[in-house]
């Protein structure tokens, strides 16, 4: 998906695939590893989500059971957090898309005649990855805190109420989420736009289409695969994020997301079934999105 941006060279037509036992030997170690450390944990999560506390047991002691109610309990208790997570994630995705598309378009289409600058700009886009994202988020926290230049400036210009905050509000959380996932949105968009054949845009113009119409009817549909990749790559981690919403970072009292709840339940209150059922709910929503995506585009292009 996004990683074709890193491919050097053009894809060659491959020979018809050979049938050979070597394939088994090549696949087995990795696949077994993933089965053991990805599938089994998911199964583990499902089992845990149905567990019930051991009567008279310690905190954190559970036994295998089939307690459906874990799910209803969790939805009742944290329904607000669940909805909030998806809302923040959707907003962050939309903002990231609006921010990244022109950026990716410039780098991928307009800047093609200067490949060195193109690469340089790409490096700048992914540069944030090279600084720990915790520090990035904390940097924004400082830069947007009440005492910072930005906020005092905005207040001085009467663009913000004197007693308003930015950090600790949902806006700050969405801002943080958007910022942190911009590279995830930009790269797949870039990868698709880079392959855009500008002659198609010229053909649009030749066939009486005005620039905006060409954009709407040619560019956007052709870059759709990049848009979908970017949306998935942004929405999915954003929905489960808890750093941005954490109170030590950009969040406040009313901004806790599903991730925060899962974390606190798992690591602090040791309420494993609750944490597990929340995780499964999150996973289920994601799986629905992925299934729709796979049904439409098939599994060949997934990787």
């Amino acid at each position: 998906m996004a990683f074709s941006a890193f491919a050097t060279g053009t894809a060659q037509e491959q020979a018809p695939r050979r049938k050979s036992r070597i394939a088994l030997f090549l696949l087995l170690p990795g696949i077994l590893y993933l089965v053991l450390f990805f599938l089994v944990p998911l199964v583990s999560l499902v089992l845990t989500s149905f567990q019930e506390p051991i009567v008279n047991g310690d905190i954190g002691e559970y036994q295998t059971a089939f307690r459906w109610e874990n799910y209803t309990d969790v939805i009742g208790l944290y329904g607000e957090h669940i909805l909030r997570s998806f809302l923040y994630a959707i907003l962050a995705t939309i903002f990231a898309l609006l921010f990244s598309y022109p950026l990716a378009y410039f780098i991928g289409v307009k800047a093609r005649r200067w490949p060195l600058i193109q690469n340089l700009m790409l490096v700048l886009v992914i540069a944030p990855f090279f600084i720990s994202f915790l520090l990035r988020t904390l940097a924004w926290k400082s830069l947007l805190s009440d005492e910072s230049v930005v906020i005092t400036g905005l207040k001085a210009l009467s663009l913000m109420a004197p007693d308003a905050h930015f950090t600790g509000t949902p806006a700050a959380v969405v801002f943080g989420l958007t910022y942190n996932f911009i590279p995830f949105m930009t790269l797949p968009l870039y990868a698709t736009l880079e392959r855009l054949d500008t002659r198609l845009l010229e053909a649009g113009g030749d066939l009486y289409s005005r620039p905006f119409t060409t954009f709407r009817t040619v560019t956007i549909p052709l870059s759709m695969s990049g848009i979908v990749s970017g949306v998935l790559l942004t929405f999915i981690p954003a929905a489960g994020d808890y750093i941005n919403a954490s109170r030590d970072f950009l969040g406040g009292t009313g901004t806790a997301m599903m991730g925060n709840v899962i974390e606190s339940n798992f690591l602090v209150t040791l309420n494993y079934p609750a944490a597990a059922s929340l995780s499964i709910i999150l996973m289920a929503v994601i799986l629905v999105m992925v299934t729709v995506y796979v049904k439409r585009s098939g599994t060949e292009d997934l990787l």
Binding site: A5, Y33, F37, A127, G240, L302
Partner: protein, 283 residues
């Protein structure tokens, strides 16, 4: 590492300017502003690594090179950094080996359950980190395995494999299959063909995958947090000290890593540009 990303079939952009319209300055201006915006936190972190801070590193107290000079005065920072390095290297090696083998199999061979395997490789990239982390922690819990360095490495290898597969697969797809056939035609046994032809040509992709894997592992927090137990890693240290106040030494390490990464990337870009010039066709 980054793609030269020019397809051979497309014609070069014509020298005559395409019609830019009134907004021809709009897009470049926006791009510059956007890029600056992206870099603000990096600049902030870098600047504050020179802060003469005492406890918390929020208020500017004065410029000093002290923190850079004596990074490991704060022992916890260096220990955390060291752990992250070890984990990164081990997880990268494991993930790269496993992932490269899978990538080769996917591109070159026919086998059953191809769709299921593609899905299995794709899902870790699509699963939120909380779910991955919680799931693994649940598994370790049920298995009675003690959380520590090893469990972190296991976790990191797991989520890196998919990314390695994707990166190497892209590279394998650019390999002309006729090259390996030529190798076999010229009396190369299967292992000779692999080590003398396939592997050297895959190497740039494998290196890119390894770097990507290391970067993901080094920066990982959420999955690590669930599976680390008491072991400290660099991101974990930052998270924990976020409440108290992060020492400038952490900024120093982060900035140093950033500079190193940027320099590596720039070197690779410049050297591949120079290589392209040198290899320009003659005659």
């Amino acid at each position: 590492m980054l793609g030269e990303a020019v397809t051979a079939e497309k014609p070069p952009l014509r020298a005559r300017r395409l019609s830019w319209g009134f907004g021809s300055w709009l897009l470049p201006a926006y791009t510059i502003i956007a890029l600056v915006f992206l870099l603000i936190p990096i600049a902030y972190t870098f600047v504050f690594s020179f802060n003469n801070s005492v406890k918390s590193n929020i208020v500017w107290r004065g410029f000093t090179l002290d923190k850079w000079a004596n990074v490991c005065d704060k022992a916890e920072v260096c220990e955390a950094f060291g752990n992250s390095l070890v984990i990164g290297v081990v997880a990268t090696v494991c993930a790269t080996i496993l992932g490269t083998m899978i990538a080769i199999a996917l591109v070159r061979y026919r086998f059953r359950f191809r769709s299921a395997i593609s899905l299995l490789l794709f899902l870790p990239m699509a699963t939120p980190e909380v779910v991955l982390g919680a799931g693994l922690a649940a598994e370790f819990l049920t298995a009675g395995v003690e959380k520590g360095l090893v469990t972190i490495i296991i976790a990191h290898t797991m989520f890196c494999v998919s990314f390695v597969v994707v990166t190497v697969k892209a590279r394998v797809s650019t390999l002309d299959p006729a090259l390996e056939e030529a190798g076999r035609d010229l009396y190369g046994s299967p292992s000779q063909v692999f080590w003398r032809i396939t592997f050297p040509l895959l190497l740039p992709g494998i290196i890119a995958a390894a770097l990507l894997s290391f970067a993901l592992s080094f920066d990982d927090f959420i999955i690590t947090n669930f599976n680390a137990g008491t072991t400290s890693t660099f991101p974990k240290y930052i998270y924990i000290s976020a409440a108290r106040g992060i020492p400038a030494e952490a900024n120093v390490i982060a900035s140093a890593v950033f500079l190193l990464a940027i320099i590596l990337v720039l070197i690779s870009q410049v050297s591949s540009a120079m290589r392209r010039k040198r290899l320009a066709k003659i005659g």
